[in-house]
Subunit: 157 residues, 4 copies
């Protein structure tokens, strides 16, 4: 390249206890429990989720279902974004787009990284890799912060 282009940014979390907050929120995602996903890395603006292969996660040809790839990339991106948000905030996924690059019949890891944090909207990139390093899927996602909103069910008193 004749013109050097910038690397992904480094982030300074607003909430020093961001990692504990992210892990507690992830633990409330019962859909992650259902599929056996674990949050393995939490850094400022970056998370990783590990998903062991199970036959009950598959589509008709025994590959991991494309929607399951979307689930772990969605959560990885969401928590990458949430790690940079204030302690009193909540967030929602606005939209995501995922390309499935290769079929997968193995344990997976999804990495989410913030590419642009914002006051209201945060944009993140997600990538899913197989155990042998194959790049399985790539995601681009938009998240919206809800200021001063609890990150727990409304009926939880």
């Amino acid at each position: 390249m004749n013109a050097p282009l910038p690397a992904l940014p480094k982030f300074q979390p607003k909430d020093p206890a961001f990692a504990a907050r992210v892990r507690a929120s992830f633990a409330r995602q019962q859909a992650m429990v259902l599929i056996g996903a674990r949050l393995t890395v939490v850094e400022p603006g970056c998370t990783e989720i590990a998903l062991p292969y199970r036959p009950d996660l598959t589509q008709q040809k025994a590959y991991v279902h494309g929607g399951i790839l979307g689930m772990i990339a969605d959560s990885a991106c969401g928590y990458a974004a949430y790690s940079l948000m204030p302690a009193t905030s909540s967030l929602v996924t606005v939209e995501y787009k995922i390309n499935i690059l290769a079929p997968a019949k193995s344990d997976l890891v999804a990495r989410g990284r913030v590419i642009r944090p914002g006051r209201t909207l945060t944009i993140a990139r997600g990538d899913v890799y197989a155990a042998d390093g194959t790049h399985v899927a790539s995601m681009l996602q938009t998240l919206m912060m809800l200021a001063d909103t609890p990150d727990t069910p409304e009926d939880a008193a």
Copy 2:
């Protein structure tokens, strides 16, 4: 509108037994069994999947996980496309993009519709609705047909 624009096309399936083939393929999607999704409608270029609400499908605020919305819309679009393909073909999801329009804490239905069938690629639109009619999510998806490829696991003898 001062210029009328065309409605979605009507489709003629290549395989008269398309509905049975689609239902058999869906029944092999163990991920759909895991989340409790049922294929309720199969028409040429159109399917519907019903998903009863369950607490184990939720994210941290007890709404249905955005990845679960993606799963049922992905399968609904995929089977809408598969209904128009030859009996000897298989298909893969190339990519999808989903906008989440409203949070959902209810039974859901995902409708998939082909908007452009093609020899190699088919484009489909998916919409997810809540029990009260709320439009919960909208998807745009690209699928690729694999000609003369079994729609079953490779190691199934």
Copy 3:
């Protein structure tokens, strides 16, 4: 379909002078002038943009460039959203995704329709059609309203 699903919603504009406001904003889009696009329809939550074919809008095979399809669908969706916003607001495109369904060598019309208006974010769908009715492209777009922000260049005094 054994379960009727809702049609696209009807919208009530907040600003009775929405059509004039949308047309004035469109007239400031010099990129639309450059490519020869005209705003032909403005209704609440819906607009249409007409683009006559010109050789200087094409890619290497003389079809209209995929980015040009994106431009007119982007503006059509954006102004569909803007038609529903307050007179004192401005808006920005957050993201869009477009599927190109067929190559086009003819006059085009892009129709944008709001599928979910929101306080902060609005989601719209765009469709591009050729003169013979061919469905050329389909878009899904996210827009963000900027409250109490002028919709004019900052340096315009």
Copy 4:
């Protein structure tokens, strides 16, 4: 990160004259001439396009139109993919999704990089940067190779 993840792959072009072929195809994109875009870098699986700021490329607030950002990222990704294809092939854009990360009122550069080359489909990532290094937009794109198809207008004899 406790688990190192792979970098983007290095590519070996099938056509040793790929750079001249890509430049010749780009020169036929009259839409790029119209907006003043230049192809500045062509490497295997990677290209860059420079776009000087001009008032006639802007939207209503004098920022570069979001569709123009899409145009240069679309072409950058497309030619990144085309660089890896056989000399006798042509390609079409299947779809793309772009997030606009920051408004831009400056010269721009779009970089396209292949993230997965395939026999039929290639997936590429595009990023647009402003002159001051600001990350302006990020794209994820799907392209389809058309084997043994001329990359020139059909009526060109």
